[in-house]
């Protein structure tokens, strides 16, 4: 008995200190001092979130309550502050708001838990939600499977393809738009029917190319991450509203121009001027929306 008593004392002190140094133990397991020793059973490596529940049940256990030291010091390495309060109250994790810290850990391995990225961003546009949301039309008609990580990966690959074509389409549309503006200006200056025909041909091509390019962006699956922020992408999208309005207004005004007896009336000239200015603004804003995305 004389030899066992000091051995037991050393084992308790040494074991407590040593437990705090074992690599791989979760910080919650690395409690130091007497409380660390008492708290360990509640956070055994196979504990996980259930450890908390087990510990809560221990709280109700009068024997454990009786065995509780009165003013111990508990230290959770790295993640929580040193606290000087009764331990069972500290370890009420939800009340102490340690929930996030606990969620970081995979207590089975003593390492941070594998994060699970959200498959869809929180703030999807109405179009994205109705098309690509969990109950979106695309899934409802069977074009895409129910949302799983693998399905989402293929959707992101589709998004990348669509946006790459969107980039190419943007440059092609700008080329067509500038050419249409060139022939439009020549027709205003020289009144040659060839220029008028070329202008109308390029305008038709511009509208087709613009529509396809816009649809590729509008119908693409949502990104993985979307935050509320002001960035070059948001400026690009804001400018899109402006050139989209220009793309609607400019051709409509163009169809209103009537040249009678080889001459423009006063009203037609002002309409043509309006069409001309609108076309230049639309082209300029469209070019700006392309340039801004490169920054």
């Amino acid at each position: 008995m004389k030899t066992l008593l000091p051995m037991a004392v050393v084992a308790v002190i040494g074991g407590t200190v040593y437990a705090s140094e074992i690599p791989g133990f979760t910080p919650l397991e690395r409690g130091t001092g007497a409380v660390g020793l008492f708290s360990t059973p509640a956070f055994t490596p196979d504990g996980g979130p259930f450890a908390l529940k087990r510990f809560e049940s221990l709280q109700e256990d009068e024997e454990v309550e009786a065995a509780r030291p009165e003013t111990p010091v508990v230290r959770f390495d790295m993640y929580t502050e040193t606290v000087r309060t009764p331990p069972l109250e500290i370890l009420d994790l939800e009340r102490a708001d340690f929930t996030d810290e606990v969620a970081l850990f995979d207590t089975a391995e003593g390492a941070p838990a594998h994060p699970k990225p959200k498959l869809l961003p929180d703030n999807m546009s109405l179009m994205e939600r109705s098309l690509w949301g969990e109950g979106g039309i695309i899934r409802a008609i069977g074009f895409s499977s129910p949302l799983t990580p693998e399905v989402r990966k293929s959707e992101l690959a589709l998004r990348r393809t669509m946006l790459t074509i969107h980039q190419i389409g943007g440059f092609a549309t700008l080329g067509l738009m500038v050419t249409a503006a060139y022939y439009g200006q020549r027709y205003l200056n020289l009144s040659r029917s060839h220029d008028r025909n070329m202008h109308q041909t390029f305008v038709t091509a511009t509208i087709a190319s613009y529509s396809l390019t816009a649809l590729l962006a509008i119908l693409s699956p949502p990104p993985l991450i979307r935050r509320d922020e002001t960035s070059t992408t948001t400026i690009h999208k804001t400018l899109a509203w402006v050139h989209a309005a220009g793309m609607i207004v400019t051709p409509i005004i163009g169809t209103m121009i009537r040249k009678r007896s080889g001459r423009y009336s006063y009203n037609d000239l002002s309409t043509a001027r309006f069409h001309q200015v609108s076309a230049y603004i639309t082209t300029g804003v469209f070019a700006a929306s392309l340039i801004v995305i490169t920054f």
């Binding site: 000091p6 790295m78 941070p112």
Partner: protein, 180 residues
């Protein structure tokens, strides 16, 4: 008599081991940044959700081991569209975390050469990080960084306007710890 000697030896050993402790990370100010170079511009994205762990002997100001862990989706470049593209490139759905574990720490004064393994995009490679440890009253700050090759980690270099970024991906880190 012998058991008492054994007890004293055990106490001595455990006492010596207790000198090396896990330092408590100060989350505010701790961060990790990656830098990616494209001919048109440089991209920097920072995560403030990085978790660092350092084992050190604070009395001797010696760092014994270093590890770090980060959820890759927490990197913010100020453009979520770009970050989302980056997550597509590194397949964040399959590999949502990056972690570093040191194997060897060489310390010369405040300078540290940390050799370890970086697991990123599901690939584990040896990495050498150069760091500087600044010990002050009640605090330890570790600054440093390391470079990796995107292709070495089986990552297809992302492109902007059909132009791919450079292969080098540079990480820099700031890890703050509170000394108890």
């Amino acid at each position: 008599m012998k058991p008492y000697v054994l007890c004293l030896v055990l106490l001595g050993v455990t006492g010596a081991a207790a000198q090396v402790t896990h330092l408590k990370q100060q989350k505010e100010g701790s961060l990790m940044t990656y830098k990616l170079v494209h001919p048109l511009h440089h991209v920097e994205a920072t995560s403030k959700e990085v978790v660092y762990d350092v084992q050190a002997d604070a009395t001797k100001k010696e760092i014994r081991s270093v590890s770090g862990w980060v959820d890759v989706t927490t990197f913010d470049s100020g453009n979520s569209n770009r970050d989302s593209h980056a997550m597509e490139v590194i397949d964040a759905i399959s590999y949502p975390e990056a972690k570093f574990e040191s194997a060897d720490v060489l310390q010369r004064g405040d300078s540290l050469i940390v050799k370890g393994k970086l697991t990123f995009h599901g690939v584990t490679k040896d990495v050498l990080a150069l760091c500087k440890a600044s010990w002050s009253e009640g605090k330890l700050e570790v600054d440093g960084g390391f470079d990796v090759s995107l292709t070495a980690f089986n990552i297809d270099r992302p492109s902007l306007l059909m132009i791919p970024v450079e292969d080098r991906l540079s990480f820099s880190l700031v890890a703050l710890f509170v000394l108890n």
